[in-house]
């Protein structure tokens, strides 16, 4: 559908940049001297400034969540299915802010930016970040935009973890926290996959210890491989079976045929890897996966999620997907159970979906219905 006749699109959007000169104290103990956040907004902030929604992106996401950057844009933002007029996050009622996390590679300050102290790219010397650093950096963006309290903070996957951290760090600034396909911490299996991804990157000779920008090089092979591994964890066995099965892209499996056969799934994964490595920064990927690894919602609350959530004062919506094995429904139920035990208002839906972890980005009817119904409630008091 073209932009001109899509009445459910936010249309053409232009990213903006906010600059913060005051140093940001980070969880690692260092300060980020100054930083920029690139963000987009959709819809209008109301007079009471009470209808603002913060969208938190996942591992490889960015600020461009909805609409198009130009009339020739082929694809809209990454969550266009859920943000726009008449969509669950209805921009006729809400003012949506979507921001690229610091440490990112799409315009916010990150490893690709210049370190003011050295005049060179930060590269691998960019301070390690935690989800809470994103939260604090975004609280300043909220101040800058004149938003005292978000009507809702919404995120899928890593974005959902960040939304939960927001609810604990700034309980008075969040009315609703929407946590989709997330977890309170990574499992050993999750950690293992992230390590394989990082090893793929650092073993690429082009990586040069992370100083590839200084050498005008890019570890694209390593980054592509990292993405391929990650991508497998985003899909379910069934989704891959129905999408590719054992179909061949070239060659045959006939005996006596010397040519190597290539399965469709091979070429798909390679395509995904190549596409990704052309648009993402390797140091950012390492930084983001580490932030995921370190995330543990309850660590500082005596490892007790119930004690952690007692610090929150918002209502929660938690959604999981049946075939998501990266952050399975069980992980979401742990969140829900902790919220119940902490006596916090919580709504939970477990969506039957074949698409695995990726389901949170897709317009699955029941998911959209639940999301929309909950967002109406968010809108009623804003």
């Amino acid at each position: 559908m073209s932009i001109a006749n899509d009445s459910h699109s936010v249309g053409i959007v232009t990213p903006r940049i906010a600059r913060f000169e005051e140093p940001l104290p980070l969880a690692c103990g260092r300060d980020l001297p100054a930083y920029e956040l690139i963000y987009e907004t959709y819809g209008e902030l109301n007079a009471q400034r009470s209808n603002a929604i913060l969208v938190c992106h996942a591992l490889s996401g960015h600020h461009h969540a909805a609409g198009y950057h130009s009339a020739d844009d082929k694809r809209p933002g990454w969550w266009d299915e859920c943000i726009g007029p008449g969509k669950p996050i209805d921009t006729r009622h809400f003012y949506v802010v979507s921001v690229n996390n610091i440490g990112g590679c799409h315009g916010s300050t990150g490893p690709m930016s210049i370190n003011p102290e050295t005049g060179k790219h930060w590269g691998p010397d960019f301070p390690p970040l935690r989800a809470r650093d994103w939260v604090h950096s975004q609280a300043r963006l909220a101040d800058y935009l004149g938003i005292d309290c978000w009507a809702a903070i919404v995120g899928g996957s890593l974005g959902g973890m960040q939304a939960m951290r927001w609810s604990l760090e700034y309980p008075q600034r969040v009315r609703h926290c929407i946590v989709i396909a997330a977890a309170m911490k990574l499992s050993a299996q999750n950690l293992a996959f992230n390590e394989v991804a990082r090893q793929a990157i650092v073993s690429d000779p082009q990586f040069a210890g992370g100083y590839y920008q200084e050498h005008n090089a890019t570890p694209s092979q390593g980054l592509a491989l990292a993405r391929m591994v990650g991508h497998i964890t985003y899909l379910s066995d069934n989704a891959m079976a129905s999408k590719f099965g054992r179909d061949l892209r070239s060659g045959t499996l006939e005996q006596g045929d010397q040519e190597q056969a290539e399965f469709q799934v091979q070429s798909y994964l390679r395509y995904q890897g190549t596409q990704f490595s052309g648009s993402f920064d390797a140091n950012t990927y390492i930084l983001m996966t580490r932030a995921l690894d370190y995330f543990d919602l309850a660590r500082e609350y005596g490892n007790d999620p119930v004690a952690a959530f007692k610090h929150a004062s918002c209502s929660f919506l938690v959604i999981s997907f049946s075939t998501d094995w990266r952050f399975s429904p069980e992980r979401s139920r742990e969140i829900v159970d902790a919220l119940i035990a902490a006596d916090r208002p919580v709504t939970y839906a477990e969506i039957e979906a074949d698409e695995g972890h990726d389901a949170f980005l897709l317009p699955i009817p029941r998911y959209v219905d639940v999301f929309r119904a909950y967002m109406r409630r968010v809108g009623e008091i804003s």
């Binding site: 119940i340 709504t347 839906a349 119904a373 109406r376």
Partner: protein, 196 residues
């Protein structure tokens, strides 16, 4: 609003916490929120019902009672309600125990299988009763644990559950006296207010 739900209201203190097991589209929790200002949570497994209940602005947990309620802490609710679901769960006795572990008091409603029409149907026709209230055939019914008023009271006695009050609904508005006097014969729906 089903008659049994309007009966239940008076046992629920204003401003209290209520857990509704099998809350359906949330109409009862909504009523309690409006008339009793309760803080309610509903449990439901039907997707459309869950969406409808969320649309009412209620807190709903998608959870199957048959897989337990262990995630709800002891005495974390003032009242646990289960309306017309007792006969559909796998282990009604265990659910009753859980209700009174989670809540200070419980309210249970169920269709009375001892009603004279059921007895007549089974007695004369020799087949499992099918009616407007119980429209399913024996092989496809979700109601797998039918009981009578007497059966339920015997179970409560066995478990040491106190019956604080019993209320009944007859099949017409004109029969409350009959249903009140001989509930096992004339109550279509039995309503119990219970505690430990």
């Amino acid at each position: 609003m089903r008659l049994d739900l309007t009966h239940i209201q008076r046992w629920i203190a204003p401003g209290s916490r209520v857990l509704d097991l099998g809350c359906g589209n949330g109409e009862f929790l909504e009523l309690l929120r409006e008339q009793r200002q309760v803080r309610g949570t509903g449990l439901e497994i039907d997707g459309d019902m869950i969406t409808a209940a969320i649309s009412r602005g209620l807190n709903i947990i998608e959870q199957n009672m048959d897989q337990g309620l262990a995630n709800f802490p002891d005495q974390s609710f003032d009242t646990v309600v289960m309306a017309h679901a007792l006969q559909a769960v796998h282990f009604p006795d265990k659910v009753l125990d859980e209700m009174l572990r989670i809540g200070r008091q419980g309210i249970v409603t169920f269709p009375n299988f001892g009603h004279w029409r059921c007895r007549l149907y089974l007695g004369i026709r020799g087949r499992m009763p099918v009616s407007r209230f119980m429209p399913h055939m024996w092989y496809d019914t979700p109601n797998i644990h039918f009981c009578t008023v007497k059966d339920f009271e015997a179970l409560c006695a066995l478990k040491g559950i106190r019956i604080l009050a019993r209320d009944v609904v007859g099949n017409t508005e004109r029969t409350p006296v009959l249903a009140g006097t001989w509930p096992n014969l004339f109550a279509t729906t039995a309503i119990y207010h219970i505690s430990r």
